[in-house]
Subunit: 162 residues, 3 copies
Amino acid sequence: GFPGAPGLQGQRGESSFLYRSAFSVGLTTPTTTTDTPLHFAKIFYNEQHHYDDISGKFRCFIPGVYYFTFHLTVQGQGCKVGLYRNGRVILLTLDQFLTADLDQSSGGAVLNLSSGDQVWLQVYGAEQEEVGIYADINNDSTFTGFLIQARLPSSPLDNRRR
Amino acid sequence: GFPGAPGLQGQRGESSFLYRSAFSVGLTTPTTTTDTPLHFAKIFYNEQHHYDDISGKFRCFIPGVYYFTFHLTVQGQGCKVGLYRNGRVILLTLDQFLTADLDQSSGGAVLNLSSGDQVWLQVYGAEQEEVGIYADINNDSTFTGFLIQARLPSSPLDNRRR
Amino acid sequence: GFPGAPGLQGQRGESSFLYRSAFSVGLTTPTTTTDTPLHFAKIFYNEQHHYDDISGKFRCFIPGVYYFTFHLTVQGQGCKVGLYRNGRVILLTLDQFLTADLDQSSGGAVLNLSSGDQVWLQVYGAEQEEVGIYADINNDSTFTGFLIQARLPSSPLDNRRR
Ligand SMILES: [Ca+2]
Ligand SMILES: [Ca+2]
Ligand SMILES: [Ca+2]
């Protein structure tokens, strides 16, 4: 007999458009809190609400590789800030302050997160001379993160073996 | 009869490969302009020409979520710079200067743009003591942006229902 | 006779998830080396091992557009650092230091790389007063890069013409 009909076309390739996660937020006032996450109330972008503006923490809903970065205005005293993941400090940045020399402090890292992981910024240590994070309507201090690469439940290579 | 020929390979996944937008540019000289966009003439990357080196503005051709960041050399006087979107200041960064303490000022944000939106950097305010953006062959001051996630006309999920 | 059974379903289409490259590393000690790449031994992320922690250089295995950024702690003296590509300085950042005013220096750029290209950070020039890059357990100095957009061997548009 004749050969059968050709098989169905393969599935569309895995798409990155299904995996979205990004946030970008800013402080609205100076902060002197040392024992809790910095609380960013100015929202540049938070469409997926993965940054929780109540707790001040980013929560990972899509496992994968993320980039986080922050840019802080340092005024009045030094500023020592940590990027935390689940209660552990990943990255520490210290900027010292001299009278009339307001500065910018910044940092960033790529992190591989699992679902439920939380990431936030927090003043490090209790030294009162190092909580000089400043912000007002003319001076932003920001925290930003976004998904670079989602980690799929099953890899495309696995799919190809089927 | 024999089985039919295998089906055709599936379409390439709805992928970010079709949606490209990134630029990275630098100043070549110090600037004291306060009423127009900073004009970055050193091109690190601008393949799609979405950064217009005549106007100094990035123009959005692919609606979606972008990351913008800048790193400026501050010399001679303070530096107060805004990240603008369509004539409105989104983000303000001030760095003060002391004699012999050249500094770096930086900032960044994620923004959700529509086609035709324009984004640029501009000195904020007319105070002559805060236009100390410095650049020469040994000191870069840069402005960078790139598409994180395109916003598709129809979502992949819609496609799958067909 | 009857036609044969239908053919097998086609392969899944090309996926963007196959193209991964990101690294994020930090210094563990102050450095005064001026003639070799900075050597970052603290690993935040380097799953694909495209950052070579022996040479201190990132090596491009996936041709495409990358974002690189660094955030350095400046202490004790000024800090003049270059972002190098294959032996050529792409970007230079200088931060000066005053007693008791530890600073942060930062920079970044988008670069279009080909396979085999190498990118690294290195102190620029031999002036002994500008090698003040500081790092210890409480002060991070980091270097980060990640793939924004892979350059495919054949473009999706070409494939669609077949
Ligand atoms: Ca300053
Ligand atoms: Ca300085
Ligand atoms: Ca300082």
